[in-house]
Amino acid sequence: MDPALQRIVLERLDAEGAEGPSPAPLKRGRPKAARAEGWDYLVLAALEGREALAGALDTPSAAAGRALPPLPEPARVPGIFLRQIRVQGFRGVGRETRLDLNPGPGLTLVVGRNGSGKSSFAEALELLLTGDTFRWKDRSAVWREAWRNLHEPAARIAADFAVEGEPAGLTVSREFEEGGRLEAATTLVQRRGQAVEPFAALGWGTALSSWRPFLSYAELGSTFDQPTDLHDRLAQILGLDELAAAQKVLAEERLAREKALKQAGVARDALFAELASHPDLRATGARELLAGADWGLAELSAKLTAEATPREATGLAVLRQLAALEGPSAESVGAVVDGLRAAARQLGAAAGTLAERSQQLADLLDSALRFHDATGDGPCPVCGRAGAIDGAWHQARTAEVVELRSAAASVASARQAGERSVTAAGGLLRDLPVQALAEAGGLGLNVETLLAAVAACQSALEPLEAWRRGVATSASPGAELAAGADALAAAAGPLREALDELAGAARQELQKREDAWRPLARRLLEWIPGAERARASASALPAIEAAAAWRGAQGKALRAERFAPIGQRARSIWEQLRLQSNVDLRDVVLEGTATKRRVELKVAVDGADSVALGVMSQGEIHALALSLFLPRATQPESPFRFLVIDDPVQSMDPARVDGLARVLAETARERQVIVFTHDDRLAESVRRLALDAAIFAVTRAEGSVVEVKPNADPVDRAIGDARALALTDELPPAAARRVVPGLCRQAIEAAAMQAVRARRIGRGDRHDDVQAVLEKASGLKLVALALFDDEQRAGDVMNRLNRERRTFGDAWQWCAAGSHEEVAGDLMAHVNDAHALARWLARSA
């Protein structure tokens, strides 16, 4: 995070106190977390980025109550200066060409025609450091692929840096394989005497993206094309994009969590509705749990994975019992019926044998026989008839007693058999699950037939029970049993059928319920983990919302506070660049959010508020862009003490170039300012204003041979060229004699122009007007302008020259004539005379 921004954020968070903003009202289905603890920590984490926020949220306990970090120390970064840029086989540069720079604060101008290869240095440096350049960023593949110089197969770009505290400095280089792509090469870094490392090891990446020390013409021109882009670029340097990104990640985090919760809730509502209409009793239980505020997820999960509870199980148990239902078998019914019938037959057969009487008579005879045994033969002890009891009587009565007792026993056994059969008949129905049958109706089973069959059976049993209780319902003994047996035999068939039918229906119902429940149960089980996650993630929502709310409420103030120094500096730069512009820049502020974010330039035109860009010329717009670039690239937090500006003067009128030269020179007091420019205006301005600057001229010969040469002012340059050619053995002497006078004349012309410009601009003439006069004046008229400030006095020039110095007139004429024909004489002597003339002219203002 941008340290300055972090400082501002922390100060404001500290001022906020522990309580923080009040938590957002809870929404339905949200986990209870009344307190938004740790929200302030989330603000910081979100500012660090998505991953940091995710990390903070993954350990919620850590987020809550975690102490905020201390205020960061003011940035103390070692400054980085450029020492040399080397380019080979890249863009306009063929063989290796070096641009030497003084690694310290100061202004360097690199002047060269368009196509001279000068911008290749700027682009190479930008590519080295950022892996891309503004110019190429959005270009087509064709453009990106045309980076190789056709004249040099080997491609390599490198830059030497001086770093404070690292005396050896370091070299960043990128070597492109032959035929390799621009992006394919890797950028490497080497400190002297150390192993080569990947560029990333320097750790410059963040700083480069924050304080990108490059400004190209294309960027300058497009600065205001997209209000959001400019906003973003400024926001980026100030770390304000982190602020925006923080809001975004917080919002995303919130949305993702809310969405997950909402989806879980939608699924829950659907399941809830399905459970409501589900016949299974387990559904009711699940539904009761789901209805709870926390959805009873844990319980529900346990329940679904465990067996059904007894209450829920009842219905299923009844169904299972009924499904297993078996009626009395045909055999057992047959046995009971047979038994009843046998008993009935026996009882019928014993009918009239007066079994009771037989028993009593047998007992009586037994007593009489025991009496006879005791008293011997004699009269009947009952009726007194004499001789009634004797041996014969004894024998006959003994036999009768046996017979009587046998008859009595057969009746008793028939009765007992009858009673057993009645019991067995009763037992036939005793095994029926009466309770289950009673509930079967409630489970949607038809039990009418069965109940009728059961009733028929029960009514068949009633006379049997009555018989057993001794209540005779029929005259003939055993007839009740026979009738009961018949009724039972008749009722048993329908009962069995009804039971089979019910069991079948129960089995079907059971299957149906399982079939209906199991998928629903499975879906519930599948839904639960996601729902648990959603609820767990939603528990952080209050803190996230609090963090987002704070960020939202503070965003504007944070931006304003962070941007204020930049806005002030931009205004002061604009003051120097505006010169005759009637546009007064009153304030620069970052406004709006999302798609409405923009840099608001509050301007006044001739004192009246206006919209900046609409009223500004292209040159003014560029100046304004520069006003914004310089402060952003010279932030104290930036380790880059150099800044590279590619062609800032295009479409800037000459007056503004003076302002620019001053602004650049001022910036160069603390920074290494390297300006590439396609014409001599800035250099001229720097020279005329006597600003400190190193000036290089870049020329590109055929075969992409690029030459970098220190460039003095035009007079010295032309005289220097003339001397070089006068002395060189690289040119035939006859050719030198053709060229040297022309160069000397250029020196004199340049000197005259300097004089005119110094005088007229010095007294307040408009640059454009001075320029127009100079464009038209040539030859003696130009010299007349320099000498007399009057081009009409060309006729007086030679006199004036000769009066000043005898050689001046000759020098002028030699130059003029030699520009068209070969001259004779001592070249160097003539050059010296011309130089003297030029120097005198330049001072004549």
């Binding site: 060269g112 001599d680 020329t699 590109r700 010969a701 040469k709 002395l727 006859a734």
Partner: protein
């Protein structure tokens, strides 16, 4: 040295300056020197052209000469226009102009070719 050989010498020197990479003395110097040579080649060629036709036009102003050339070269007006344009561009490059930098190699190459073509056509 005069006439065709003079033109040839100037053009050859200019081409040599343009084609041969240089270090040292001539680094950065050659574009202006080259422009001066081409202009003189063009002027010499024009001079030769008039002399060959027995015309004493070389004393006239450059502007007058280019107007006349257009008349004489009516069969090839494009060539005359190109020559006149080249001469004006060369003249601009040969004088000091505020803020202007030395001509580029491509510009010089273009001018050289215009003069070369005309010279080889008229010298033959």
């Amino acid at each position: 040295m005069s006439g065709a050989s003079e033109v040839r010498f100037l053009l050859d020197t200019a081409r040599d300056l343009l084609a041969r990479p240089r270090r040292g003395d001539l680094a950065g110097t050659w574009p202006r020197a080259c422009a001066l040579l081409i202009r003189q080649a063009l002027e010499a060629a024009l001079d030769r052209y008039w002399r060959a036709r027995g015309l004493a036009l070389h004393e006239c102003s450059a502007r007058a000469q280019w107007i006349c050339l257009a008349e004489y070269e009516r069969s090839d007006p494009e060539s005359a226009t190109a020559l006149s344009g080249t001469w004006h561009a060369l003249s601009r490059a040969c004088h000091h102009h505020a803020y202007e930098l030395a001509p580029t190699a491509a510009e010089l190459r273009g001018w050289l070719e215009v003069v070369e073509r005309w010279h080889s056509r008229t010298a033959g």
